[in-house]
């Protein structure tokens, strides 16, 4: 098992005929990911890397019955791409484009919430279930099959987490790139819940960073998560960012700093790894040696 994607996943690539879409479709297929179809409006009937292209998600659903979509369209079309999937009943959508308009993402969250769907990203590097499926843009080199699930806001940190888990021998069940955009499709706790229900995952590492409130929000849901969670927060030494108006400050009251995140998670009982090399040590205390 794994979460979001596995060897049974039937993956649709939205924006498959674009440069990034083509390039990563090739890589994903090489990894063994089951890419069943692509969508680019107006290019229906073509093929990319042997994968049939459709004009609409509806067409692809009729023809290929996908259950996961990975989105490579430009940011301004990303919200539409998600909603098209939601209308066709897809429940797992991974958004690679970055800098998606924030009001669009509010709408995406609203609609995905009603549909009970998991939207990962924007600015997600993708989701990798090592040995099963690689959906997104992550290089497979760092990943190995194993026991720990990871979820990180940044792509590079996702690699380093996998690198650390692979080298220490724990390996990964699934690595989820939550995404770097300001308004994301999923929160940490949404992904942690999926791991909690995945029989193969024994513990989770979540990696946050300064800015945003995702780590603070996650800390409020930690009592719902049964398996051990370890947190890593980037930006402990980052220069203080700029403040944005009173309205934000009134609502957020000093949250968003690395300190606030570390405190919120610590208070919720989550151990903090200060360096990547702390992670295997903390895991060993919780789920035994690798």
């Amino acid at each position: 098992m794994a979460i979001i994607v596995d060897d049974k996943s039937r993956v649709l690539v939205q924006g498959i005929t674009g440069g990034a879409g083509k390039f990563h479709t090739k890589n994903m297929i090489e990894y063994g990911t089951n890419i069943v179809g692509g969508v680019t409006p107006g290019k229906g009937g073509q093929e990319v890397e042997g994968v049939p292209v459709y004009d609409t998600v509806h067409g692809c659903v009729m023809g290929e019955n996908p259950d996961v979509s990975v989105v490579f369209v430009p940011a301004r079309f990303a919200a539409d791409a998600v909603m098209e999937c939601l209308d066709e009943g897809l429940k797992r959508i991974i958004l690679v484009p970055e800098r998606i308009p924030i009001h669009d993402m509010l709408e995406v969250r609203h609609k995905a919430g009603k549909a009970g769907a998991t939207v990962v990203g924007g600015n997600s590097p993708g989701v990798v279930s090592p040995g099963k499926a690689n959906v997104g843009i992550m290089p497979p080199i760092a990943f190995s099959e194993g026991r720990v699930g990871t979820v990180a806001r940044s792509g590079a940190i996702t690699y380093y987490l996998a690198d650390t888990l692979t080298h220490s021998g724990y390996g990964e069940t699934t690595c989820v790139g939550l995404g770097g955009d300001p308004i994301l499709g999923s929160n940490f706790e949404d992904i942690l819940r999926l791991f909690d229900n995945d029989p193969e995952t024994e513990a989770m590492v979540m990696a946050g960073e300064i800015g945003g409130l995702y780590e603070e929000i996650a800390s409020q849901h930690m009592s719902e998560i049964k398996k051990p969670v370890i947190a890593f927060i980037a930006g402990l030494y980052a220069p203080p960012g700029k403040r944005m108006g009173h309205a934000g400050a009134i609502v957020e009251k000093g949250m968003g700093t690395a300190e606030s995140k570390v405190k919120a998670l610590s208070d919720a009982g989550v151990p903090i790894a200060k360096k990547f090399s702390d992670i295997p040590k903390l895991l060993e205390e919780r789920i035994g040696k690798a």
Binding site: H24, A75, H110, N123, G155, E209, A234, G235, Y237, V251
Partner: protein, 397 residues
């Protein structure tokens, strides 16, 4: 992108939010003419894109043409939080009976727009929020809804307004919410909203737009509002980086940070700090940088006199290590090696990247004297340790 007060006020006025009569001036002469047209007394307000203007002496009142000139000259010479003042807003001074705060932003806990009203407006609104939270009234709006007039009235009435003021301020809230949605704003704020007899005025105006939605707003250009970077508090090197579109911040240390992959920039600073090193900068390559961009990133570091050693790391994902290596070569061939570079490459095409550098080294070994490149087998923390060590040697020597 934050708008100037005068830009925001024009947008507010077009949305039928009442704003006092006013005019932008770029010289004492212009200010005097404007003030005479508007009628005394006037407020003269420095136009800058940073907060805390009032406390920094950026707002004054004038009763005469002479005073207007004098104040304008003083303000145009002012720097507020290191930002020069290029223009002032000359505005009719409004009798203050009551100051309210109204604002719309995105609640990042609930992922919904939120409207905030307080009966205690003015500069200390955050203190009010802290100390007297029951004076702050909030309402979430569903993302597909508009703010309806009864919701505006409910907020106005909660804030203690009575009689006709309920519908008046309620209507302003509706229109402020309309501006927030129409312009894809992150914040639309009026502080203070002044009640003056039967009238209400937006005495200040703050509008911060989502940069990532600006493509939807060509109408802003028609209004003369162009994309601006917030250059107020930037160093020269930061401005240079911004011009190239590279997220970059100067820090106090001596290790030039050359991280790869969006997001690792911040983590690499923590890493170096925890190992006892002092980063000279924050930098973010963005996803999939071209070799040319890589070379420009290195330029920024090597040109910084504080930098004694460069710490580079590339985990190829959407980016490719061969491009990274090519970028390093463009830089080396143009500028040579002056400062040690300690680097790690792994991920997408890392072997190809290593090969490029090894082949180049064979051809021009002199360029590689101070360069150490590690691959997948050396953990990132080991490489960082080595960079901190080299920097200490360089700084000491």
């Amino acid at each position: 992108m934050r708008l100037y007060e005068y830009e925001a006020k024009e947008i507010f006025e077009n949305a039928k939010i009442p704003v006092p009569p006013r005019k932008v001036a770029r010289s004492a002469e212009e200010a005097k003419t404007a003030a005479e047209e508007i009628g005394f007394p006037v407020a003269i307000k420095a136009q800058v894109l940073v907060g805390g203007r009032g406390k920094a002496g950026g707002i004054e009142f004038a009763d005469s043409p002479e005073e207007t000139e004098e104040i304008t000259n003083r303000l145009l010479g002012l720097r507020i939080k290191d930002t020069p003042v290029h223009s002032v807003l000359v505005e009719k001074k409004v009798e203050v009976e009551k100051e309210l705060y109204i604002g719309v932003t995105i609640d990042r806990f609930e992922f919904k727009p939120i409207v905030i009203v307080s009966s205690e407006g003015g500069v200390d609104i955050e203190k009010v929020a802290e100390e007297e939270p029951d004076k702050i009234h909030k309402l979430h709006i569903d993302v597909n809804d508009k703010l309806r007039s009864y919701q505006g009235r409910l907020l106005a009435s909660s804030a203690g307004l009575q009689g006709k003021m309920i519908s008046k301020v309620g209507g302003i809230l509706q229109r402020l919410y309309g501006v927030f949605k129409k312009y894809d704003a992150k914040i639309a704020e009026i502080n203070p909203l002044i009640v003056s007899g039967e009238s209400v005025y937006a005495a200040d105006a703050k509008l911060i737009l989502d940069d990532d939605s600006l493509f939807r707003h060509p109408e802003l250009k028609e209004k003369g509002i162009s994309m601006r970077h917030d250059v107020s508090e930037l160093t020269e090197r930061e401005k240079l980086a911004q011009a190239e579109g590279i997220p970059y911040l100067d820090l106090d240390g001596n290790i030039g940070m050359f991280p790869g992959g969006a997001g690792f920039g911040i983590a690499s600073i923590d890493l170096v700090k925890q190992l006892g090193g002092e980063p000279a900068n924050f930098m973010d390559s963005g996803g999939g940088p071209t070799p040319e961009r890589i070379a420009k990133m290195l330029d920024l570091l090597v040109d910084n006199p504080n930098v004694v050693t460069i710490f580079g790391a590339r985990f190829g994902g959407i980016s490719r290590c061969d491009d990274f290596a090519k970028g390093v070569m463009i830089f080396l061939e143009a500028k040579g090696t002056k400062k040690p570079m300690i680097m790690r490459m792994t991920g997408n095409k890392w072997k190809e990247g290593m090969e490029i550098l090894e082949n180049a080294k064979k051809e021009r070994p002199e360029l590689f004297e101070k360069i150490e490149v590690f691959g997948i087998d050396t953990p990132i923390e080991e490489v960082a340790k080595r960079a901190v060590e080299v920097a200490r040697e360089e700084a000491g020597g």
